[in-house]
Symmetry: C2
Subunit: 424 residues, 2 copies
Amino acid sequence: MDPWVDSYAQRAQGLTTSAIRALFSVAARPEVVSLAGGMPYVSALDSDQFADIAARVVREQGAVALQYGSGQGDQMLREQILEISGLVGVRSHPDDVVVTAGSQMGLDLVTKIFCDPGDTVIVESPSYVGALGVFRSYQCNIVHVAMDEQGLDPQSLREELSENSRVKFIYTIPSFHNPAGLTQSYERRKEILAIAQAFNVPILEDDPYGLLGFEGEPPKAIRSLDDQSVIYLGSFSKIIASGLRVGWVIAPHGVREKLVLAAEAATLCPSNFSQLVVSRYLAEQPWQQQIKVFQELYRVRRDALLQSMQALMPLDVTWTVPQGGFYSWLTLPQQLNATNMLPRAISSMVAYVPGTGFFADGQGAQNLRLSYCYPDPARIEEGVRRLSGVIEAELELVDTFGVNGDSGPSAGSAHTHIPRSDLV
Amino acid sequence: MDPWVDSYAQRAQGLTTSAIRALFSVAARPEVVSLAGGMPYVSALDSDQFADIAARVVREQGAVALQYGSGQGDQMLREQILEISGLVGVRSHPDDVVVTAGSQMGLDLVTKIFCDPGDTVIVESPSYVGALGVFRSYQCNIVHVAMDEQGLDPQSLREELSENSRVKFIYTIPSFHNPAGLTQSYERRKEILAIAQAFNVPILEDDPYGLLGFEGEPPKAIRSLDDQSVIYLGSFSKIIASGLRVGWVIAPHGVREKLVLAAEAATLCPSNFSQLVVSRYLAEQPWQQQIKVFQELYRVRRDALLQSMQALMPLDVTWTVPQGGFYSWLTLPQQLNATNMLPRAISSMVAYVPGTGFFADGQGAQNLRLSYCYPDPARIEEGVRRLSGVIEAELELVDTFGVNGDSGPSAGSAHTHIPRSDLV
């Protein structure tokens, strides 16, 4: 019994744990093939080099590395961030870059400065579960807009913007979408931007995977087309290492000013220690080459996933074919429910994230997200084999008894809270 | 001109920069003796040892250190945190510890889960400027309660609790207060707690300096007296290194549950890299001995400050005598205004923090905070010499012209926004 149960803010009402969360701690056992978490494969880094950098940062810059720093982030790192963002066409000034403790914090701060309770945020269908958590925590009205194979659907976007008057921003992951595995074409990006401009609503562009495409040049960011209407979120989590917790926001000048003040209230300043390690890594190491290593690694794993699904999945299961990033999005036959199926999957030693977590409105019961970033190809194939078996068994159960196993832990819940570290 | 000026949330209205902020960037010049910032003297750490620890964490635990981790924080570190908190009498279970990116983030999360706009938070007079920034950012009603030499005044506290119906918590820094330099006696702590219990309002106890006392045993935390009514904030910033951004919250079970979910929404998880470096430092290094080194270092600097003030300050200036921590709180003669005096002080190459920043209600015009943690004793003496000269010149000006220099940059502003990293 919590003695403070009546003292919490309204925004904390949604902060409750779920049975799903408990399932995920079981899923962390090594015998379970986890296709759930979006953990980058950091073992592909040269840890000796990295250890040497960390040591030299402390030895040679200790008085700075171990001290409080600027609320906006290290000046040199902000310049290096622009070099990286330049690869997706983003041009800016270091003054308009804010370093954050991971790009999740950027999401939180942008929402905090823009959204009063009841304000609307437009998101894709499905959308990143960690973003939905932030929007809920500021009591936003979350409106999902449909996607087609090119990403956010322009006609649906226009309709929702016409119908909702307090839309504070459009949240989109245009490249290698989490969880949908889709990428907006260049034409689509221009169209989405034109709509946002016409309705005078900013775009919050989340781009953690933009440099992790499997072929050709990285897609140009929407931010490369308009520096006044787009707030851009970037991250070192997937191109260097998630454990450092260093991300960034590139924002129009006025927004940046508020973001820095909000960031100072939230954490005083980002870690100089982490920042200087990242900065020195970028200055000394062939980081573009390392990104190529990651691209190739993830491409091979993506192929392993797609090939095993092609070979093993029941006929009625469909999925998206990602051109980069970490995820494929599956649609189960209509009679199945991915949330209800999860306990059985975990009993069969395979884990995924059920689709309902990526929606605020109860959609996604037929969907699930598979990640191919962390397990090696043989484990991925074994995971798909187990999952295919579970789906087949479910289909048989339904055929025999005409039920879809509604005894699951959180059937119909639109607020599936899962440990966030499994869901990036 | 900010195109989004009409789009921000109400809570962002208070996020504006001030002339004071610009002054502080001037004050960062090396020729200025800064008695403003609360930067711990991290150069007292053995940086070779620290460098070696950082390198071994990456080399031997890289797959964990560079990866996402638990939203609540590393399990072993949470156990070590309890060992440290035990020194101020706090007993708890590792399950009720939440690791944060500095204890500022703990402040932010507690406020986020407890406070709706308009809810009241009771704070000391004066209070930590970074806490006031957080409370403002969640649109709290900030009510100051008087302090005497023993800290928070019981009678005033009782009155404010009687008069305000939506008090969400009492925020207090009982040991080596920032900025007041005062410490609550054990009797006073029991009295404050009894009042909080009687009104059924939790205490938010902020204790970054608790282990940095100059004599005797560290003061027992209020949390040591009641584990259901007190939320305890701790930090490694002052006992190890602020640049790591690692702090913690110890909370009653129900509060802890909400805090973890709020922390995951805010940053997904604290940095494993920083956490494992702290954890290994605590496991391998004589950290209690290092705390003694810090205590002795700061005691010598405190003495340098007090002795030079005794020798040099005009008669009508008074100050508190801290028994630990980083700060002394000065009161100027009635006819002077510390905010208006600041530009003249900076011209004379000495910086302090004007008192108004530590109040939400316009008090503090006659006050200023001096920090002795960072400059060496000779610099402290030189700083006091310069400041005494400035105060004397101001007094002469007032005596001659009967004005108190109201041409200052933000006279009368109760919302003095100063770069937070100068104000910890």
